[in-house]
Symmetry: none
Subunit: 232 residues, 2 copies
Amino acid sequence: MSKILIVEDESDISELIALHLTREGHDYLCIANGLQALPAAVEHQPDLIVLDLMLPGLDGMQIFRRLRADTRTTNIPVIILTAKAQVTDKIAGLELGADDYLTKPFSPRELYLRISAILRRVKKVTHVSEIHRGRFMLDRKNMKLFLDGSPLDLTTTEFKLLTTLMENDATVHTRADLLREVWGYSTEVATRTLDTHIKRLREKLGSAGNHIVTIRGTGFQFQTELPEAIAA
Amino acid sequence: MSKILIVEDESDISELIALHLTREGHDYLCIANGLQALPAAVEHQPDLIVLDLMLPGLDGMQIFRRLRADTRTTNIPVIILTAKAQVTDKIAGLELGADDYLTKPFSPRELYLRISAILRRVKKVTHVSEIHRGRFMLDRKNMKLFLDGSPLDLTTTEFKLLTTLMENDATVHTRADLLREVWGYSTEVATRTLDTHIKRLREKLGSAGNHIVTIRGTGFQFQTELPEAIAA
DNA sequence: GGCAAACGTGACGAAATTGACACAGTCAAA
DNA sequence: TTTGACTGTGTCAATTTCGTCACGTTTGCC
């Protein structure tokens, strides 16, 4: 649902957070190098950043200030983690616009709650989630697919699969990619599952099913424009 | 210009806060007796409540729970002040839906900043107290639901749940989302609670219960317009 | 054309999801 | 303290959805 950027050099902490986020159905991205925080935030546009101030050899507050200074990231909420419990630092953080502030050691649960609280607020300003592709209109927010204006019923898995294909239409999606995106598999599994779902999807799309094109030996692709309808 | 309710028995603290608020151009209202918190909040509809949990002879958490339970005050952000620094209490507060939490002794400055932060956020949300959706009319202020013009009695939880669904109607609400929005859980707990309440809600809505649509594998959705009641 | 690999298809059992319900715990009012 | 309303949890069954398998078909290549 939401995408979170975690900037934290201690892998056990970031993994803990990541685990929780996964369970909550969120996307996340971990980086350990504070210098990458800004570029990563710019590129991935997360909904929330969890920033550890105590990165080795770096002034975390500096990073934070840059995040706030850059227009592409100013509006992204930031939760700051730090070992410094001094009040002055807290103030500095909040004053600069951090959305929340936790001092180590903190209860993971409390962090989750604060993350949730912030996402809850942010979520209300949801992005427009409609993808238009030719005869198709995919409404992520409502989880609806419209083909030529009329709605089609898809299961959750089918919807995820189609969304993934349509988000980057015209690009070839590897089998491994799709398995990872839709099923969350990290490993490559030899399975016909993907094929089955592709098939069911095509079935439901009816005549428009041929927009899902097989790239033999590689994967699948969504083509908005079909090259040659006329094979005659 | 916002209105803040301060519930605090130590007059030096409340005066300090009040002074700051005045300088910032806000209205405020101080009460020392926790029992008056709810009635005062109902009457004055403040934009924010600062609640000291350590009121003499009263369980502050109790007061907080009542504030949350009453629909006329559920949506008012609360900052909790307390001397109890125990993590469990913090969690209890946040879990119940407090917007922020400060433990004494705190820097007044920090409190101001948090107050400002919350007011800034709240201000963006224009409060509409009536939601009209087809046959439904939901009156948040009085916690009443009208179906085809006649009132239905809903419990607090049911009301919150329905409100959440109706506020963003037609959008799919994840189970996790709903648990967060309505219950404040940050949890991954497998529970039938949500289902149970959905069921009770549908029951009370009677024939109109089918406006609450199950999205299998994902969550629920409020549909103002039902697709095809009878395709015959 | 023949071959092997990759892909499509249909069917079936397993797993997940959810609605219904009973029951126990909690809280506020009497 | 008792009562009654409300809420949360566990179980069960019905249903949907999923993943796997076996087998047929297509594709690329010689």
